[in-house]
């Protein structure tokens, strides 16, 4: 076990995947010799050659179109989109193509080898276009998998699973944690399951649910709440699509209360889907409305980003409101 930060864990996962399977390729803007603007692909070109790790021209729709073709051919492309905010020019290739490739062909063809990595999220003075959390846009798209890791250990295991999963996977990396989050990471080749949430901490009064960088926030809020005698069960959803309804529902059946938090705007965010599903599953067990603590229904601001973000205090208040309902 070594102590790695999130970036190092990702780099290690890519390295292992490329060593393990010569059909794995990493490419995107600046990912070649330079190793990516965040250095997630450092040294991979040196180790595996220019044919397997390279810069692309600056065109996201081309990167994903190219990746779709490569995956259909039987390769295992890991394409990087430099910031999740810049994934939208590739939206058609992802939503109309990657997601529907297998279905439309009756499984004659598929792009299951495809993984798309992109740094996402706020809290780093990035403003409108270096802060977005676009997971909900993709969560409405059957055929895709969407995964968000919360720390280095999770990142490595989930990314290895994503690369090897026989379905196209979007892997959103919480860039605020790239260097800020460190932890013990096994050196071995290991995978963590897609589609399964993880109960981080058991509790009895209320369930707190989030993913990615927002896990830190709800854990801090839980600490505040515990001080007031509120026992919180904390769940990391990990996979946004498909998501683990059972684990969440089981928890809420027990606690009777649910607070969900994400950075993306409220309206149409993925917390809405979760709330809608859980109120149906757990209707008779709910002791208070399911509560969502999210970004405002605005683009992402800069100077007032602290005010905008769903921080631990906002989550704490939501916990108290839920308990007092």
């Amino acid at each position: 076990m070594a102590t790695l930060n999130l970036l190092q864990a990702i780099n290690q996962a890519l390295d292992i995947a490329m060593a393990d399977n010569e059909r794995v390729l990493c490419f995107g803007e600046d990912v070649g010799g330079f190793g990516g603007v965040f250095r997630a692909t450092s040294h991979l070109q040196d180790k595996y050659g220019k044919a397997r790790c390279f810069n692309t021209p600056l065109v996201e729709q081309g990167i994903i179109g190219f990746a779709n073709g490569l995956a259909a051919q039987g390769s295992t492309p890991v394409a990087e989109i430099q910031f999740a905010d810049y994934i939208f020019p590739a939206f058609d290739q992802i939503v109309n193509e990657s997601a529907k490739f297998r279905y439309r062909s009756g499984s004659l063809f598929n792009v299951g080898g495809l993984t798309i990595r992109a740094p996402y999220g706020g809290g780093i003075a990035g403003g409108l276009y270096h802060s977005q959390s676009p997971e909900a846009y993709f969560a409405h798209t059957p055929g895709l998998k969407v995964v968000v890791p919360r720390n280095p250990h999770q990142a490595k295991g989930l990314l290895l699973a994503a690369i090897r999963d026989p379905n196209p996977v979007l892997f959103f990396e919480p860039k605020r944690l790239y260097r800020a989050s460190t932890g013990e990471v096994p050196e071995s080749d290991y995978e963590l399951p897609l589609g399964e949430a993880e109960v981080i901490k058991e509790g009895s009064d209320i369930t707190l649910l989030a993913w990615g960088a927002q896990m830190e926030v709800i854990e801090e809020a839980a600490e505040l709440a515990e001080k007031e005698g509120i026992s919180c069960e904390i769940i990391d959803l990990r996979s946004i699509l498909p998501w683990d309804v059972d684990t969440v529902a089981t928890s809420v059946l027990k606690t009777g209360r649910l607070v969900i938090s994400h950075e993306a705007p409220l309206t149409g965010g993925f917390a809405g889907e979760i709330a809608a599903t859980i109120q149906e599953r757990c209707f008779l067990y709910l002791e208070s409305p399911i509560s969502r603590v999210t970004g405002l229904d605005t683009p992402f601001p800069l100077t007032l980003e602290k005010e905008y973000l769903p921080d631990r205090l906002k989550v704490f208040e939501a916990i108290k409101a839920s308990m007092a309902y």
Binding site: P57, Q61, F66, N68, G69, L70, P89, D92, N96, V245
Partner: protein, 412 residues
């Protein structure tokens, strides 16, 4: 109509970008004779007849299926009519294991590769034998064994995919390349630009085959681009390019043969612009009289690519009137009979609604299917295609087959 016009040359000269005016490569005149100075490409009788059969089959299929659509037997259809030489001549120049990533009007390529009439029909009727499991509109064929990627309606998406596919072939080192077909309209999409640029930068064995048929639905080429066709864009990417008479199957064949050599032996992507014309409507939903003249259509009907090849074959005595008659009759019969059978085949099973979304259905999808099954069991007569036979006794006249009287206005 303003179309690219330029003088003709008679050898397949690939432009490097150091000359700018783009000539058109042509070998065969409409009367079936060669242009002076032209030489016949290396094409034996068997291959020539294989090409010709595929062209005639495509024409017959198109005629019959359009008629079937008009009779309400089929929801939608798109004809290749007028462009058979471009599509089939190019496919014939490839290795049969090269990948084809087409737009939608390239059924001829599939016919050339040996897709059976039954396979065509099953797709069009979306029945239980359709490889695509009845999920896509008619003409969205695909065949893994024939290396023909399943058609996708969103235009131009296959072009960068072809670049990626071919990059994979290059790494695999198996000596294959990819050809991607697209219209001059689709070439306006951002995906086109991405694909050609990436192919040039990464030296990918891919052939970009543009069918410039003068129209994108109602939009004439002159409102699609101001330039002399699509070919000059190649210079912007430093890509080899050739323009070819798309109604001249020999020229298309030879140009593609050379392109394939460049792609496979030198990892040089190539752009081919085939100048042709869509003689039929855009699709069964379209009526071209709203945007072009009968006169223009007539002028192009004079350039029928099938007739042109037939004359050349007859001149060589590789083909006769009797053979023609027999072929036409056989194909017509085959199409009609196969259609009848395919149309009666049942719809794909209900389960096919949720398979292939992922490699295996998620728990949610299984739940959704179970709920749907329960629902259909409650109202079997409302879902004749999928209700259990036992339950669907209310609808005796075979309404449980895949396509009833579908009158689609779906596609365009």
């Amino acid at each position: 109509m303003t179309r690219a016009t330029s003088s003709l040359v008679h050898s397949p000269h690939f432009l490097e970008g150091d000359e700018f005016s783009i000539d058109t490569f042509a070998l065969l005149k409409q009367d079936g004779s060669l242009y002076e100075g032209a030489t016949v490409p290396d094409l034996d009788r068997d291959k020539a007849l294989r090409i010709y059969h595929a062209m005639v089959f495509t024409r017959v299929l198109d005629e019959r299926m359009l008629a079937a659509q008009r009779q309400g037997r089929l929801s939608f259809y798109m004809q290749c009519t007028g462009e058979e030489a471009a599509v089939i001549g190019s496919t014939a120049a490839l290795d049969d294991a090269d990948m084809i990533m087409a737009q939608y009007r390239e059924q001829g390529a599939l016919a050339y590769r040996g897709f059976s009439c039954d396979e065509f029909m099953n797709q069009m009727f979306g029945n239980e034998h359709d490889y695509g499991k009845g999920r896509q509109m008619p003409i969205h064929y695909g065949s893994a064994k024939l290396h023909y990627m399943t058609i996708s309606s969103p235009l131009a998406t296959q072009i960068p995919q072809a670049t990626g596919y071919a990059y994979g072939q290059k790494l695999a080192g198996d000596g294959h390349c990819t050809i991607t077909y697209f219209g001059e309209g689709a070439a306006s999409e951002g995906d086109f630009h991405a694909a050609l640029n990436m192919a040039a930068v990464h030296k990918v064995p891919v052939i970009f085959f543009c069918r410039n048929n003068g129209y994108a639905i109602s939009t004439p080429a002159v409102e699609q681009f101001a330039a002399d066709g699509v070919a000059p864009r190649a210079f912007g990417y430093k890509m080899r390019v050739i323009r070819v008479d798309g109604n001249d199957v020999l020229a298309v064949y030879q140009a593609t043969l050379e392109a394939r050599r460049l792609a496979v032996e030198q990892n040089q992507p190539v752009l081919i612009e085939a100048m042709t014309y869509r003689l039929a409507a855009h699709s069964s939903s379209d009526d071209p009289s709203g945007y072009r003249s009968k006169k223009e259509e007539e002028a192009w009907r004079e350039k029928d690519p099938i007739l042109r090849l037939r004359r050349w074959l007859e001149d060589r005595e590789w083909w006769s009137d009797d053979e023609e008659k027999a072929l036409q009759e056989r194909l017509r019969r085959e199409v009609l009979e196969t259609m009848k059978v395919a149309q009666k085949r049942p719809a794909p099973p209900l389960e096919s609604l949720i398979t292939d979304v992922y490699d295996t259905p998620t728990p949610q999808l299984k739940e959704q299917l179970a709920a749907l099954e329960t629902h259909i069991r409650r109202y079997p007569e409302a879902y004749p295609k999928s209700a259990h036979k036992s339950a669907s006794e209310h609808s005796p006249q075979g309404s449980s087959t895949s396509s009833g009287a579908v009158t689609g206005q779906g596609g365009y």
